[in-house]
């Protein structure tokens, strides 16, 4: 029997757990870490099942190379040589920017770092991005502008000392369960709760106020609340004067957002907006929590700005129990961003466009860096269809199911010359690959993940990878070497040392310091204890900047032909495209087929019964799924999770992008439903 202390591979909450194995190489279960400040001896259902997919027989065990149209087993050297040779050829023929690299928020910091290094100085392109583009790119853009740092400002433990929590666009008990439970515990001790969400999510049953505004009207709602805060004189004048700038512009922009007008846009009652303003404005300490409901819109960055404005207006920043708290989705999406797996920044958000930054990295890496920011993942598919992007390297992502507008992605992947997929299971995306490389999963290698509260913590090897599968950092090291770059890292610990040397916010991070429950960045030097709360004396950028925003409607709203609004998201049992959870017995049993939530009155009008098969069509595609009749969704809105290949929500969604962050509008598109 062995017990290996490691970090949960699912959500960004970052619980730690023990993986238990029988000593003969078989995982037998999971036990939560009792001493960890977030898990505290508890886990959610996915954490309790974190061992279940690891030894599934479907695991990829050997490299595969496409020969005469079929993927066939190959040796590592053969597969890696082929990858390198084809990338070199395509780069020579079409320029380095014809190569595109997708990194992964599921793999370690060290691996994200190596892949972005490989893309930038191995193959000479800044075309590196990952799924943060689809979840919190709006946050990174919006909060860097207003506060100077695009991460959660406070910690999970702050929920124990706050007086009010405003949750907007986050189904926290299902998506960040151990943060959601902490909110429920806070309400038990008397903390007030406002939930702004069209759906009747679990948290709403505990809310003092549940605002069911129309999807896509968050800017109007937040502006309306701020307008009323000013009207009631509940703004924090001292904070505004000392710590912020651009207040007058904000004030002017809010004037038009009267409760009546906001009520007309959002579908709420005017007095609900005033009530929210009074509750929020009078709270001594208030925390703002948000997630995909805010970010995944064609005006996602504006939504984030509005959230940030509300915190600044009321002085809820820089102290315990407050803050702007974007809940990051994947176990390591915070880390993948920190590591610079983004087209415009290097590690620690150092800008590629800045010559001094490039010089420093060039000195550290021994090669010059390309100076033009690269392609965003969501633009890469357009580039592929235009013939500009010709080879993709996709590490641990499954865009065929996760990107908006599946048909578009499939067309793009079919159009390119060469596709490499590195993954732990065969996926809908690897089916298109020319080379598939089998990777070790989190339980089979060492490394670090950075959780949503900026906590850098260890994951540890509990057993060897299956067959010939290798850790991603080993695969990437082999490619770096083929590019003539030194990559003889003895282990991920030494990669972290290199990261610390080039990243001020990770400067004090090293494996020996991460033994127990990790460190929260910024941690600039080896004596620094880490930073639980950001923006304490001043914001990272100096003054907090009010960034006024106007309301823009979503790009595709219901009409006569497609009369229902489709909202998409996730459930508590499954994870993203289901590669892991649909191979976990209990999770898959709990929810084992695709479904769509529809309001009973809409269903009655369309003659749809509970559990009936229906066809759901949008302008981009059609799927067949089971109808679930429930008043969780408001009238006129339907909801689908995107976990299921047999009823792929993203065959329907709209790839209308936010102009600044490039995030697709996953939360709003128009559909029609017919019984089959």
């Amino acid at each position: 029997m062995t017990a290996t202390l490691t970090t949960c591979p699912y959500c960004g909450t970052g619980c730690m757990l023990y993986l238990l194995s029988d000593g003969q190489g078989r995982l037998v279960g999971v036990e939560p870490s009792a001493g960890h400040p977030v898990s505290r001896g508890q886990l959610c259902v996915k954490g309790w099942n974190a061992h279940a997919f690891v030894q599934h027989p479907d695991r990829l065990k050997t490299p595969l190379v496409r020969r005469n149209g079929t993927l066939e087993p190959a040796g590592w050297d053969e597969a890696l040589d082929l990858v390198h040779q084809r990338f070199r050829q395509i780069s020579a023929a079409h320029g380095p920017d014809s190569l595109v690299f997708f990194s992964s928020a599921k793999v370690g910091n060290e691996e994200n770092y190596l892949l972005m290094k490989l893309a930038r100085v191995g193959y000479g392109t800044n075309n590196i991005d990952h799924c943060a583009r689809l979840c919190h790119s709006s946050t990174v853009t919006g909060l860097v502008e207003t506060l100077g740092s695009g991460a959660m400002t406070n910690t999970v433990a702050c929920l124990d000392e706050t007086d009010l929590v405003l949750v907007i666009g986050s189904n926290t008990t299902e998506q960040h369960p151990l943060i959601g439970s902490r909110i429920l515990q806070a309400t038990q001790r008397g903390c007030r709760l406002i939930v702004a969400d069209g759906r009747r999510i679990k948290l709403s049953r505990h809310a003092d106020l549940h605002l069911r505004h129309r999807n896509g009207t968050d800017v109007a709602l937040l502006n309306g609340i701020m307008q009323q805060i000013l009207e009631l004189g509940l703004e924090n004048r001292a904070f505004i004067e000392e710590r912020t700038e651009n207040f007058t512009a904000l004030q002017e922009s809010l004037a038009a957002f009267t409760p009546e007008r906001v009520a007309a846009i959002t579908g709420l009652q005017a007095d609900e907006i005033t009530a929210a303003a009074r509750m929020f404005g009078t709270a001594k300490r208030a925390m703002l929590l948000y997630a995909m409901g805010i970010t995944q819109h064609s005006h996602g960055v504006d939504n984030v700005r509005a959230v940030s404005n509300l915190a600044l207006l009321t002085g809820n920043l820089g102290k315990p129990g407050t803050g702007v708290n974007p809940l990051r989705g994947q176990n390591n999406v915070q880390g993948a961003c920190d590591m610079g797996a983004l087209p415009d920044v290097l590690t620690g958000y150092q800008k590629v466009a800045e010559p001094s930054v490039r010089d420093r990295f060039a000195a550290a890496w021994g090669r010059p860096l390309p100076d033009r920011p690269g392609l965003m993942a969501t633009h890469a598919f357009d580039a592929a269809l235009a013939g500009r992007a010709r080879a993709f390297f996709i590490l641990g992502e499954n865009p065929v199911l996760s990107e908006a507008n599946q048909a578009h992605v499939v067309k793009a992947l079919a159009a390119i010359d060469f596709l490499v997929v590195v993954d732990i299971f065969p996926t809908e995306t690897s089916a298109f690959a020319d080379v598939v490389l089998p990777a070790a999963c989190y339980a089979e290698k060492d490394g670090t993940f950075t959780s949503t509260e900026r906590r850098v913590q260890r994951f540890r090897r509990a057993l060897p990878p299956p067959g010939e599968a290798r850790a991603d950092w080993e695969i990437l090291s082999a490619l770096l070497e083929r590019c003539g770059l030194p990559a003889g890292y003895p282990g991920p610990g030494q990669i972290m040392d290199e990261i610390a040397a080039v990243t001020p916010s990770y400067g004090g991070i090293s494996y020996p310091r991460l033994e127990e429950s990790g460190l929260q960045w910024p941690c600039p030097n080896h004596d620094h204890p880490g930073t639980p709360i950001l923006h304490r004396q001043s914001c990272t950028r100096g003054k907090g900047r009010f960034s006024p925003v106007d309301f823009r409607p979503s790009r595709e709203l219901p009409d006569a032909a497609y009369p229902l609004l489709l909202n998409t998201g996730r459930t508590g049992m499954h994870w993203h495209t289901g590669t892991m959870t649909r191979r976990s017995h209990l999770l898959d049993r709990e929810e084992h087929s695709a479904f769509i939530e529809i309001h009973p009155e809409d269903a009655a009008r369309l003659s749809i019964r509970d559990r009936q098969q229906v066809s759901v069509e949008s302008r981009r595609g059609e799927v067949r799924v089971m109808a679930t009749l429930t008043d969780r969704v408001p009238l006129g809105q339907v909801f689908m999770p995107f976990h299921f290949v047999e009823g792929a929500a993203n065959a329907l969604t709209n790839n209308a992008l936010d102009p600044e962050s490039g995030i697709p509008e996953f939360k709003v598109c128009a559909v029609r439903i017919t019984p089959c």
Partner: protein, 328 residues
Amino acid sequence: MLKRLDRADLEKLLAALATGYRLLTPQRLADGTRLHRPHGEGALALQGEPVQRKPTEAFFPQHDPLLRIGEQGEVTTCDPPDRPVALFGLNAADLACIAFIDRFFADPPADDHYLARRKDALLVGLTGFAGPGGDFLPPANGMCDLELLALGQNWLGVPWTPRGEALLEGFPDGEQAEVEELQETARTRGNPAQDLLEKAAGLVASEVVPDDFWREIGDRCILCSGCNLACPTCTCFCVEDRQEQAATLRSRVWDSCQFDAFMREASGHNPLGTEALRTRRRIHHKLAADVTRWGEFGCLLCGRCDRVCPTGIGIQAVAAEILARFGA
């Protein structure tokens, strides 16, 4: 027979146990978790809260391969480890929990797979001043092969089976008066948690707890399944079949009655289709149904579900709430 062991004697006893058994002892790990680990791997933690993981997992693991079905339909069973386990350092509640599920699995038709691990296993109780920070734990008075009653730096050794007697052979004798004193301490302290549970159970059984209450509690459940997975008296499992090349590996996996799919029928209908009904069932089963079936509560107050529940609705918390609201 009654023995008195000092630290050196205790080490001697552990060494003897380690030769015949796969000895597991409570150890405190780097993050503060107290777990049963192979003896000698880390430092012994002789005092503390109940070990994090339920001790019954030694006989009924979370994921347990039962048999392989070959291509031709031939069945081979998966054998238990060759050396029996010795579980050292169990408190009275944990021992009672093991006794509880022994009866369940041994009740005809007996579960061979469970018994294969259980039959030669050795249980060592550790009670007396062995709680967190040396707090008092009531003696188990049986349910194990031998019990050590902690007195501080010394332990009274009480054998309850011939195997226990053999293991204590040769150690210096102890004073019966010291045992009496511990028993007296247990009597004077009473068991307030048990009293609370009994009162709440009375209210649950007499149906005075309204549906609204269960809805309210159910609304707080985030469906982590931890309360069941952590509970040493929970015995429900489901069966997982995995195709491994030509063979099928059949395993049993801890299940949870908090899941929707636990009772869902193939038609989709579910007699326990809401969190309220499932939460009511979890509590009702342990405090009322088990009493009818076995004549005792299905909760032996090990404390794990209250510790593991992220939203504070473990059995003791719910019992306290029932009593506060409906106990007048």
